[in-house]
């Protein structure tokens, strides 16, 4: 109901101006090739003196080395996203909240996995990123709960309860998939009908398509049966409608690859796709690059809409992924070619 009241309340000029300012602080794409030529101490020094300084200083007592860097990056991401929630109002705030539910879902999954595994609360909390609506304090209290029932009660008033209501311990894959589906259905439902929002909807639908293509690749490669595959696909995509998903999930591997040629995404991945491909990492990396480029392109069409904010959130997340990929990749001596392949610039 609150969302209906908020809809139409256009408070975009302020938040988009803030986002523009925040965007200017992101590392420019030219920096990444330079980072590739630096040693780890040089990179960590650069990061420690940048936007991430406060996070590095705060976590320096708890972590060290690359773990410190990674946790600082994650904390900065959470801080940035929470700042967006803080400085936005009404419709933009609502849409940002819905978009960031992805992190709530991630954290709930981590806590449930940890509890199911029997991991200590601190170990579980080391793997959460409080970048969604559930803050670190709430997540800490949930992670410290002893039983699954207590966790379910704590999440009773959230949209995630529907997925975990029947969970009583044991395997989590079905619950996790359900949580992800809830996320996308809410995200689709959250977007209205104005021109800017229609484009946002197109972006979300494209994201769903890309997610479905990745799932199709993974499940087909693993030899899952068509019903199991179809269960894992998210309805509401842009090009891959329900009928397409049904058809694609029933096709054998070679026909599936041929079937992909009918969609616009094919041109992005055609170079790395072949019948005897052994790894899907290249396909996923190219689809991620496409999503990033697409968000960046459409963000300029309606400057006073959610689009530039989505674009910023994506870029910020991407910056963190890129820094981490370079530093961790260098630490474990991954070839530069592999690191470059996974960078989204």
């Amino acid at each position: 109901m609150a969302f209906l009241i908020r809809r139409g309340s256009k408070k975009y000029p302020y938040i988009t101006a803030r986002v523009r300012a925040m965007k200017s602080k992101l590392l420019p794409r030219e920096v990444y090739p330079k980072l590739m030529n630096m040693d780890i101490p040089e990179i960590t020094r650069l990061i420690g003196e940048s936007e991430y300084k406060q996070d590095v200083d705060e976590l320096a007592q708890k972590y060290s080395g690359l773990d410190l860097l990674e946790h600082a990056l994650n904390q900065n991401l959470a801080r940035t996203y929470r700042k967006l929630l803080r400085v936005s109002q009404d419709e933009p705030n609502y849409l940002i909240t819905e978009y960031l539910r992805h992190w709530d879902i991630w954290n709930i999954k981590t806590i449930l996995r940890g509890k199911n595994y029997g991991a200590p609360a601190q170990e579980i909390l080391d793997a959460v990123v409080a970048a969604g609506q559930l803050g670190y304090r709430e997540l800490t209290s949930i992670a410290n709960m002893e039983s699954i029932d207590d966790i379910k009660t704590a999440l009773g008033n959230t949209p995630y309860y529907a997925a975990i209501a029947n969970y009583d311990g044991g395997e989590l894959s079905a619950i996790e998939n359900e949580l992800d589906k809830i996320y996308y259905s809410r995200l689709l439902a959250s977007i209205g009908k104005s021109k800017g929002e229609k484009l946002s909807l197109k972006y979300i639908k494209t994201e769903i398509d890309l997610k479905n293509i990745k799932t199709l690749f993974r499940t087909k490669k693993a030899g899952l049966v068509k019903d199991d595959i179809f269960e894992l696909l998210i309805p509401g995509g842009m090009e891959l409608k329900s009928g397409d998903l049904k058809r694609m999930s029933s096709l054998p591997w070679s026909d599936f690859l041929k079937g992909l040629e009918d969609y616009s995404y094919w041109s992005e991945i055609s170079e790395v796709v072949s019948e005897d491909m052994t790894s899907l990492m290249d396909v996923e990396a190219l689809l991620d690059k496409y999503a990033m480029g697409y968000a960046s392109r459409i963000s300029h069409y309606y400057p006073l809409s959610i689009l530039p904010i989505y674009d910023y959130m994506l870029r910020k997340n991407n910056e963190i992924n890129n820094i981490r990929t370079i530093v961790r990749g260098k630490k474990v001596k991954l070839p530069d070619e592999i690191i470059r392949k996974h960078l989204v610039m």
Binding site: E70, N74, D126, L172, K214, A222, V283
Partner: protein, 205 residues
């Protein structure tokens, strides 16, 4: 056995001859066992070499995959996903007999799992995690196989060493000493017989 401790009697001589015969046949059998074990060892060694090479290659692949997952997805994602793997592989250890040597036979189950049985949701994860999990499943299977073969090799080597020691002890110590004792008794008995004959001749004359 020192020569001075031997009683030069006929019964001792018979006993010694029996022991020599037994030792010689034991020596022959142990030699055959040693040769058989060595042949078996070389066969298993070839298998172990190829399994070890495969294990090294699988380890390198698994390390690369987990390193990519850690770098691209982050340690937080890898750690969280790792919580999903609750079931440890089941191992059944039996034993089999190779030329009298008891070696292990390890059977594993639930090491390799289908993508939708690993415990983590597919929609929210990526192929980097799948490939790292795949690579480690293959690696664990290979480790189990290598453990079986390498334990067999160690046990065969121990047995070969033990058999070699026994063969050498029989060949260079036990049998020569028995032969020396037998020769001594024969010599003493002949001597005693000659003394007897001489004594009888003296009484007669």
């Amino acid at each position: 056995m020192a020569v001075q401790d031997i009683k030069p009697t006929r019964s001792e001589l018979i006993e010694l001859k029996r022991k020599i015969k037994l030792s010689e046949s034991g020596h022959k059998i142990l030699k055959m066992k040693r040769d058989g074990l060595i042949l078996e060892f070389f066969e298993v060694l070839e298998k172990a070499k190829s399994v070890r090479a495969e294990l090294d290659a699988d380890f390198n692949v698994a390390t690369e995959k987990i390193n990519i997952a850690r770098a691209v997805e982050g340690i937080v994602t890898v750690r969280s996903t790792a919580f999903s793997f609750k079931d440890a592989p089941q191992l059944k250890v039996e034993s089999k007999n190779v030329m009298g040597v008891v070696v292990p036979k390890i059977e594993s189950s639930s090491v390799r799992k289908a993508l939708n049985e690993r415990g983590y949701g597919i929609i929210g994860t990526s192929s980097r995690i799948d490939e790292a999990a795949d690579a480690y499943e293959i690696l664990v299977e290979k480790i189990i196989l290598a453990a079986e073969i390498e334990t067999t090799i160690k046990k065969l080597l121990d047995e070969i060493e033990k058999t070699k020691r026994r063969v050498n002890a029989l060949e260079f110590k036990v049998i020569p000493e028995l032969i020396e004792a037998r020769n001594f008794i024969i010599l003493r008995l002949d001597e005693m017989e000659r003394e007897n004959t001489f004594r009888l001749k003296r009484i007669k004359s």
